[in-house]
Assembly symmetry: C2
Homo-oligomer: 717 residues x 2
């Protein structure tokens, strides 16, 4: 069974050809620009002798400087800066600054404000690489794309690329607190050195901007959605403005999370009723104050009436009334509001998975035109697998903004290798059937399904002060994948992984191929050893890191793992059909019909939708119980396979980055076994079924697993 499900062809390393590897620490992310050799070097040297750029703005300078940096590092010689394009030039041009563009056979129509083209053209008989865009930011995005090609080592003749982002707002959300802790952050403390801002702007901020611009990320929310009122006070606005100044040339706008009760907590008003004119006036003045400091401030992200956060419902107003009041304050300045739909009330006994839909769908069409409703990918909370959120497709009149979690709160945090590109893709290509077949989530959020111009996607960042930014080298891939999918939500996770691996390690197929193979099955492995077959929310209270399927003591019922798996003597799983919570009815009929029956429910979501008997035969012929155990074992085996695959790559990867991944994979195998054993011990105590043949009994008794603690989890709020 196990061998059928995957095969490891471990590349036989040709030791004689292993290249010497310079020491690396991950700081350069995918922008390493390693020194080229051989044909790659001569190709680069001839195709990038100079940068010709007439545009003079800060963004144009940044584009030019990045090309100089990258090509200088790769060839050993900085390209010169030329006034006009010559043989081997890279020519960056906009219509406004380069009249000569008009005589080139390129059309900038449809590139919009951020798109670009890259084309090999001829100028005075000389081959030149043209990067053209309507605005300077397109030149920067094009420059990064060119550098990506350049690092690939392939031919740079006859380039013909056009690229335009499909989603307007492509944001990171930092859940960073003012004391520099990061909620659900596992990569060290916040990179925002609030204490020494606004005066001191260290080089890290610039490198942050470069990394994000290289992906096309164009906005960042600086502070935790569980916000503090101080974030909107003058000193902190000034600190945000200092960051905005660093980011501006890179096309990155600054946004802030706004706490609903800020005016009251600052002692300036006695109410935060959105329909009270004083409140509206306060926010209008606050917006004016912010825009004086940050003229291109993006807007507010709001978590309201969720998990104890204050909000309009405290004043018997609804989400739209709240959002619209803020939106009115921002509108004159061009700002927007992102209002989070992550709500579930502690006094609402209904299925937690249904509550956001129940609260928000009736408000469709009631939001102001500069409001987006920000929706998590699934209806619970960033579990290893969740079916797509029922709101996607259900609010055609409202721009919905996707919220993905890049930081791996439930997927092994910093040490577990679980490439999220596959998770993101899975959600984006899910078909909502809102307007018939093909109504994918991607088309909902890129606005094409319902005709929205204001569109957005957000990723909860996995960034901290760790030298490698994201807590591990492979965690960087998740940031990378998010950015690439934000630019084009229809890209494939495998292609993205391939890009990332080539940039991060080497374009050598002997490295890329096995690395990509590791990555592509890694998320599913975590699903398998943590929450297979559609299970969810089984984690320990200690920072959401280890297993805790037995937990039933938390204040709110829907925080307890037992609420989710509902394991009993008969079976396991949450009945969301008509005989249960009927959450399936929140989906399109095509979907609801399919999910109504066990036999037509995708097996990897089975226990999300159904309470299934332990002895129920699945399509594989196995019983549910046996399949559950086998999935755990498959997860563990996959990690073992990754360890072997990685070990074979030792000659090809620099020592420090090799060792980190080697160590983390070893820890991941321990974690995978722990999850497997703890869950089997617990569920077996309920199912009372024997383990299938070949499955080892857990090493320790259930009480041993129950006694485990993980104190001082880095991301614990």
């Amino acid at each position: 069974m196990l061998t059928r499900l995957f095969s490891w062809s471990i590349a036989l390393a040709s030791i004689a050809a292993a290249p010497a590897v310079m020491a690396e620490d991950g700081y350069d992310l995918w922008l390493r620009y390693p020194k080229a050799e051989g044909t790659a070097l001569s190709t680069l040297s001839s195709h990038a002798t100079s940068i010709a750029i007439a545009a003079q703005g800060d963004t144009a300078k940044v584009a030019r400087d990045e090309l100089i940096r990258g090509l200088g590092k790769m060839t050993g010689v900085n390209p010169t800066v030329a006034g006009t394009p010559q043989a081997g030039s890279i020519w960056l041009a906009t219509p406004a600054t380069d009249p000569a563009l008009a005589s080139q056979p390129v059309k900038l129509d449809g590139l919009g404000d951020e798109g670009y083209l890259i084309r090999t053209v001829t100028v005075n008989g000389n081959p030149v690489t043209l990067i053209a865009a309507n605005r300077e930011i397109g030149l920067l995005y094009g420059a990064f794309h060119y550098l990506r090609l350049a690092q690939g080592g392939g031919s740079l003749d006859r380039i013909d690329i056009r690229s335009t982002p499909k989603i307007k707002l492509r944001l990171l959300n930092h859940w960073d607190n003012l004391d520099r802790t990061v909620e659900r952050g596992y990569a060290g403390q916040s990179i925002w050195d609030w204490w020494r801002l606004p005066e001191w702007k260290g080089p890290r901020y610039t490198d942050y901007a470069r990394a994000n611009a290289s992906l096309g990320i164009n906005g960042t929310v600086l502070n935790n959605v569980n916000a503090k009122p101080e974030s909107l006070t003058a000193p902190y606005i000034a600190k945000a403005a200092a960051l905005a100044d660093v980011f501006r040339p890179y096309g990155i706008k600054v946004y802030l999370s706004a706490r609903w009760s800020t005016p009251v907590e600052l002692g300036e008003l006695k109410t935060a009723d959105p329909l009270d004119p004083q409140v509206a006036a306060w926010w209008k003045a606050k917006a004016d104050e912010i825009y004086k400091a940050i003229p291109d401030f993006g807007g507010f992200l709001v978590k309201a009436n969720s998990e104890g956060q204050p909000g309009p419902q405290d004043y018997k107003r609804n989400h739209a009334e709240g959002a619209n009041m803020l939106a009115a304050a921002l509108k004159p300045h061009g700002g927007i509001v992102m209002w989070r739909a992550f709500v579930y009330a502690h006094d609402n006994p209904d299925d937690r998975a249904k509550q956001a839909y129940a609260d928000f769908k009736p408000l469709d069409g009631q939001f102001a035109d500069n409001v987006l409703v920000q929706v998590k990918n699934g209806a619970i909370d960033f579990q290893p697998r969740e079916p797509f959120h029922p709101l996607f497709g259900a609010m055609p009149k409202t721009p919905l903004m996707m919220e993905f979690q890049i930081t791996k709160e439930y997927l092994g945090q910093s040490t577990n290798l679980t490439y999220l590109g596959t998770l993101f893709q899975e959600t984006l290509e899910s078909d909502t059937y809102a307007k018939g077949k093909g109504s994918t989530v991607a088309k909902v959020i890129d606005g094409s399904l319902d005709g929205h111009k204001l569109t957005g996607i957000a990723g909860v960042a996995n960034i901290g002060v760790d030298r490698d930014w994201s807590g591990s080298i492979f965690n960087q891939a998740d940031w990378y994948a998010f950015g690439r999918l934000a630019w084009d939500p229809e890209l494939g996770a495998e292609g993205i992984a391939r890009e990332w691996a080539a940039l991060t390690f080497s374009p050598d197929r002997r490295i890329v191929d096995p690395v990509v193979r590791m990555m592509m099955g890694s998320r599913e492995a975590a699903v398998n050893y943590m929450t297979p077959l559609g299970l969810a929310h089984i984690m320990s209270v200690y920072g959401h890191y280890g297993p805790g399927p037995w937990v039933d003591t938390l204040d709110r019922p829907e925080w307890n793992p037992v609420y989710y798996h509902r394991a009993d003597a008969q079976g396991i799983g949450f009945d969301r059909t008509a005989t249960g919570s009927n959450a399936i009815a929140q989906y399109a009929p095509e979907i609801a019909r399919r999910l109504a029956k066990v036999s037509t429910t995708p097996e990897n979501e089975l226990l999300w939708w159904h309470h299934v008997g332990w002895d129920q035969k699945l399509s594989s012929g196995e019983t549910l119980w046996d399949s559950l155990v086998h999935h755990y074992d498959q997860g563990v085996a996959y990690v073992q396979g990754m360890r072997q695959q990685w070990a074979a790559l030792r000659p090809y990867v620099d020592a420090d980055r090799f060792k980190q991944t080697e160590t983390f994979l070893m820890m991941q195998e321990q974690d995978a076994r722990l999850w497997r054993n703890a869950c089997i011990a617990y569920f077996q105590s309920i199912s009372k079924r024997p383990l299938p043949a070949g499955a080892a009994a857990p090493e320790h008794p259930l009480e041993w697993y129950k006694a485990l603690k993980w104190p001082y989890n880095p991301g614990q709020p």
Copy 2:
């Protein structure tokens, strides 16, 4: 007045000769090993062609590797490793591994376990640089000393150096918490990545060990003196053991802060009475457990019955009874106890400065022989200036261990340039007169005054995850100075600054001279703009950063600034003479006599010892009030001078490090003005004297300064 007190001769930069400077981020500290050029390069190349080393232990390998690293970077060519010394070799030798040493004209007598000699010798007619020591750790210290010489660019012929540390235990104390916050830490979060220890040992730990070994620091207390019981549980012992494994080859032992009530808080005992045999047995078993994991564990640091920490007094036992119980548990393993004398009781109305002496002097001679009493440099708490602690010289039968604060809790934290070498030196050369003239504090702590073999010195570390380790480049100098003074407490602060500047920037006198000049007056400048003329403890409640001379609302009287300055209509200052608290009586008669009168009290300590009238004429002829104001202005002016001096160094320093210091000096000038203005505004409201001619009135009214807040101070516990 102002110009008399200092003169700035700003070096005229010869721009034509300014060298090209590579980008730097401070990570390499003073171990940059920059590429040599010209004669320096040829000197190095001929004097360090190979490393000859017969010793085979881990420490020998580290010494060899550091030489290869350093010389490789400086010359561009890694020295080879030779079996026997040849022309141009660096020969590392111990008697145990190199019989040939016996035929060399060098004596290793008196070098002890850690000392070394470096001598140009002849082997088979060839000039060879010999680094010899009795044990491998001496070879490592000698190698670092050699590398220091090598970076200086001078001649390497005819070296003749002997060096032996004067103090046995040379420790850092990290006030690092298990959640990675650092109490009074301003350089980012703790470098101890507890969550991913013991498995993951990142490269930073090795570089930490290298940096400390280069200074001769041989021990580190990993956790905050405000300790948690978890630090002594098995998982955290394992994490400490992993760090100990990294540090061991570098001669660095690991110690832990032990919370007195640990056995009770872990639920294992009902009492922590040190005379209860169960308690002694518990600690004996705990010590056994620790030593199983860490065979060369150093011992415990204990803060007990201080600022709310539990301790033996909770059971009506005294400090010695407590310390001795722990000492007995550690003694079989060779471990020691460092028992802190930083005590002051909230229910003791006596002068806070007297209480530690009152508690500890009666216990002199009662401590076990593996106990040191750790004493802060002054009697209050690490103020910009404090007279030396009265316990120095008062406990001849007890080894007293100095506790300096390297992190600048009260001296401007991360952004203020205030070189502490001068503060350390001032304390160390203070004469206690305990056994007549010359009974310096240095001689107390190096054991020579009272014949102690067990000796120690500790520095509260200024280290965190910031890329530059210490929060700023110039803060690194304080770590450096502490280490050098720990090795030899009679070194001069200026010589140390000169060493450090040459290693950190360049040996070029055009850089070293002005940098050293900046550094040498910088601590006094801070004294001047914060707490001149012997004032102390005037800081804000917000993280101890800004001015707060008016504060009188804290729970304990001796936490309030007003307790210390006692400003009233008549004057200012704390009477510690016989008419006041009589703290002077805790010092030797020679000192007490001198301090009894204003006219013989050193002016820079005046208000520490006396309440002085605003109109009192000082030796300068100025009134106290006028002098106070002038000191504030001198402090501000000094910072302005530093800014000008630093600006002139722009061509000589890499851009990022230049800009950081430039920015921080700008912030420091703002801080200096703020302190000056806030203090003058407040004290003038009490003195009601006019400002002296030429002194500007504070920019804002007193209420404005009183309303200032500094939220989210990084080091606030």
